[in-house]
Assembly symmetry: C2
Homo-oligomer: 463 residues x 2
Amino acid sequence: MSQMLTQVLEEIDRTLEASLARLETFLRIPSISTRPEHKADCRRAADHLVSDLTSIGFNARTENTPGHPMVVAHMSADQPENAAHVLFYGHYDVQPTDPEDLWRHPPFEPVIENQDGRKVIVARGASDDKGQVMTFIEACRAWKKLTGKLPVSVSFLIEGEEESGGENLLPFMKAHRDELRADIALICDTGMPDRTTPAITTSLRGLLAEEVTVSCAQHDLHSGMFGNAARNPAEILGRIIGSLRDEAGRVVLDGFYNGVVTPSPEIRAQWKSVFPDDKAILQPLGLSDAAGERDFSAIEQIWARPSFEVNGITSGYTGEGFKTVIPAKATAKISFRLVPGQDPQKIRETFRAYVKSMLPPDAKVQFTSHGASSGSQLAQAGQFLEKTRTALQDEWGKPALMIGCGGSIPVAGEVKEALDMDALLVGFAQDDDRIHSPNEQYGLEQFHRGMRSWVRILASFAA
Amino acid sequence: MSQMLTQVLEEIDRTLEASLARLETFLRIPSISTRPEHKADCRRAADHLVSDLTSIGFNARTENTPGHPMVVAHMSADQPENAAHVLFYGHYDVQPTDPEDLWRHPPFEPVIENQDGRKVIVARGASDDKGQVMTFIEACRAWKKLTGKLPVSVSFLIEGEEESGGENLLPFMKAHRDELRADIALICDTGMPDRTTPAITTSLRGLLAEEVTVSCAQHDLHSGMFGNAARNPAEILGRIIGSLRDEAGRVVLDGFYNGVVTPSPEIRAQWKSVFPDDKAILQPLGLSDAAGERDFSAIEQIWARPSFEVNGITSGYTGEGFKTVIPAKATAKISFRLVPGQDPQKIRETFRAYVKSMLPPDAKVQFTSHGASSGSQLAQAGQFLEKTRTALQDEWGKPALMIGCGGSIPVAGEVKEALDMDALLVGFAQDDDRIHSPNEQYGLEQFHRGMRSWVRILASFAA
């Protein structure tokens, strides 16, 4: 195997240009799942994956859902019964691109940039998740091309609603349980603590997303005619948002921290070794002082503590110039990142009750849920985990860290629930990839060694 | 005179349909002064007035300014030396129309509606200020048509930047001081306390308008990757807005209430006679409880107390669906209505200092001024005031009230400053005219008796 492995790794190096070209083709499809006007583009992205996987030799197809289509594909190892079977999960949908004017190039026209000697590809989805999905697809392509087969049986499940809180994944996996079950799920939607330290993500934050609309008068009012006497929903919403954290940076909702477990001293020490202070995290953002809870470092807050965020707010006149209006309503998109142990439903109820308790007379509130998922603690042992750690260490030349992830990857928990499988989260994204922001990027080194890492991991599973 | 007066009043009644048709033509011009794309429409509105006034017999023209054009017109009474000379002020520009989807009809296609037997004309500008301007123009038309002359000398100054904090009015009046000076200025941009009680507005609120932008990180961030550790400008802005009022509804800025004079018991009693409680003001808005300062009734807060308002706020993702982003910046349009005695510059400084004092590390703030004008106390005596009160009482059959106005009509103070003239504020708008809001309207009764009121006032000035 080891000689074959070397040849496949060489094939990866030799065909890097072609792999990059295929990634660019994928990135040109504006598959923004949350925007109805891009429905057809999501379909195009799914069809594109099916034809690409078919060209490798996979038995691939799309499956319709009430939302965007799923991509399902399979290829068996030579003796399936003896070989391990992995299910790879990723998503082909991407975030919206606004504010458009902050992009250096059109978001769906990928450009290779040279940043102080480091090459990156800039486009929406470059890192999250198209670039990462392609690292695995290209690994399979190289194995198949060079050896005519895959070292293990591989199935794909690639969805198109990860960025839009899609409710269709769980029911879909349950409905296709027999087809999708494997020995282990591989999810490539996470990152590395820095450019050279490989990592396996073993804890994830969940997400509780709420839209809150406060309304008062029946219509917008002239602030000269009614200013002072008429309730102002924007002021009320400001008061609510501004009061959700105490002076120590803790969320004031009753029982918000119930069930939250502080990481062990060992883990905190391990993390501190990579992040001696907050600088590495904050400086690239133009920040110097960690917000949030006083008693935790920036990395601890991101990997192991729940958060409260205002993701958007709008009310009244926001155009050019000035309009002396008292808005009839004010809307905020508010979310909480949740860690293992917190109960999303309880926190939603507490949050809604808190908002209602802050309303003065004449103020009404309307809530819209944009999804709720709990944080998850992933398997921290097992042969696949050990083999993956070794394979990553072989590729990157240093031990793989067990880290947390501030983002929510509901599929990890859903794979467990629907398919009763453990999931291994291995990804190569960097904190400065600007995912969800203008000028999202993915390092070519990450892309290249990501492919090589998967080549090694697949080999290790066959051993 | 009195017989002639009767005939002119009958002419007004007889030609109501034609007057209404002319108002509709005026309303069809979308002269939104704050929107650059409507610059040509503002010009059209000015030209339209010039040709209409010319058709009456006025010597009318437009005058260019750095912003939108001014309309200037003159017509002398038979013996100018013996006759009184009035300068009429109004504005042809209107507010933006958003949110468009709340309009029952397109905002610039006037429609006459029957509301429980009361007829109103619905369109942007119907009340503020095109409808009110036309009441005076039509009064002049009727006098000229029936008697071949005007009872007094009349000059017009109609501007196009009243809704966009236009800085050009004051310098223009100063530059044309000799041409524009008259015995008294008549301003028709105010309202009546109810449908049947005429009023002269003798105190006005000023306006301090500020745009505040708080920014933190260099670009939008993924809330999963940085949520908690990175400052959130929307949360900070909410905290600032939510803390500007204390529990008693008072603005907390140092010295905000310095110089504010509480109306005399006589005036408060007079107002209470028309507004025994807050119902008449709040109920039409769908409200039941007066916001703002506890110790003052709704009408006192609007006519005689300073206010704090959030006129608009925007940050992060406000589109359909949900985007888990930490915004890089958050912007609010904030204004304070000021009463006579308050110093706009001092309050601006105090406000900006307060905002800065609320900023945590890494948060920066940028301020944009959208104008500042102080409240004004208008002449409460003089022959013109007395004659106007009598004329209004003759038309409406009950005494005219001396009231305040919650809106800011900077021209009143500027006429005094630039032309050293007193101003009489007489208007016929109603609180439920929805000015600055969707479905702005003007009662046909207000329009009709407004014209008749001016016919009488002009007659009384000649006596």
